[in-house]
Amino acid sequence: MSGEHDEVRVPQRVSTPLTAPYWEAAEKGNLLVQVCIDCGRLQLYPGAVCRGCWSEHLRWRSVEGSGTVWTTTVAEVPGHPAWRDAVPYCIAIVELDEGPRLLTNIVGCDPYAVGVRQRVRLVRAGDHEPGPPLRFMPC
């Protein structure tokens, strides 16, 4: 069984030409959201149209990355075996001060100490740290 365990890899990042700028900025520590040029709506995740008005005129905007925890959980048994050694870890949905919400991890604290409505801020992963480049930590 341990051999099988070793072979489980973290799923590789997927992106599309449309979403590539989001990940490129994230690698540099910047969080981008999409802004609809026609209605002003901000959105995450990025898509091909504004989910409010269906405009295709979207541009990128960098946001500061502060927000509040919309909801949270602590993974003790991960949904994917590649995270078996990472437990317990915090999965949360953060509502940015600008409005859009994104799923993320809250790091740098006891995962059980994270609560709904807690203030959090963006944190960039270290250069050789595995996983997504951007996460959040308590303010």
């Binding site: 799923p11 995740y45 919309w70 909801t71 993974a75 048994v77 994917h80 991890n105």
Partner: protein, 384 residues
Amino acid sequence: MSGTAIVGIAELPPRRSTPGTTTLELLAKVAVAAVADAGLDHLQIDGLVCGPQVGETPQHVPATVAEYLGLRPRYAGMVDLGGATAAAMVWRAGAAIAAGMCTTVLCLLANSRDPAAPRRSPNRNPIREFDVPYGASGANQAYAMVAQRHMADFGTTTEQLMCVPVKERENAQLNPDAVFHGRTITLEDVRRSPMVMAPLHQLEMVMPCGGGAALVVTSAERARDLAHPLVAMLGAGEAVTHRALSQAPSLTTSPLAAAIDQAYRQAAIGPNDLDLLAAYDCYSILLPITVEDAGLCDKGEGGPWVAEHDFSIASRLPINPHGGQLACGQADLSGGMGHVVEAVRQLRGAAGARQVPNAELALVTGNGATFSEEVALVLAAGER
């Protein structure tokens, strides 16, 4: 859609594994049983609705199933609404009949299961790109986050959530087909089961199984001449709002509220008229939110309500007399059909030892993804 009736039901008991069988084979078995239950010949089936068959038949599902069963339907479709699929099939079948496309529809769901060879379908969608990299795969984490917000906003307690599987197991002791028949549990058992995604323990989550279920839907007019007392669909509602939990309009009011409201209005009934609630229950948190969204209590009161409420057949409003999926096991999408089948059984007066006395009106709910794709049906004993 009044004039739609469910005249045939069948289930294969959920089992942890179905070694050596294919989904098509299970579909065939349960189809034969449902059509026989309706007292019909398979040549009278002229409509077919199927569900997704991940890993076995990625495309052309209705044609593959029709061919395998020797059917030549005049209406063939697939519904892909997760746990709401079964309930969604019923009103679609009624709509196809009302549109003159066919007369008698077979709604069919099954899933073979080999725990040693899980079927994974590689996604390339926003959840895969934006959620999975954070270790957020599968449904457990999403329902845990729904529960966490309900607790934070309304003071719902883990004890209130944990009593849901306890009560459903109790009901399942009258259902020999339930995976957990003969195995009641206590709050302490739930508390001591492994924490999977806080605040949800393992015993607050469904047990994945293989199995199948089927329904035969026809017009009320045709139903009058058939074997069983007629069970009519009086109302239906459907609402789809999101897929990724981050995009949900609300974590505490689900799209079930709109779906149930529409089903009530079509049926011209309200929550106080119900004799039975067949509530979709893949996790403990489903019950508090469902009873709130069904208007059985105020928003936020679902925790205390489920803790105090009697789920048994002696109750003024029994909930899932068969034990629900938490006690029966979840045979993939056919687990959701189990709620429809149980409601039909009860409304026929054919539920045997677990018959709800004088059951005339039932609300059935279906839930897919994470409170994402929701369907409600109001079913009645006889025509109105």
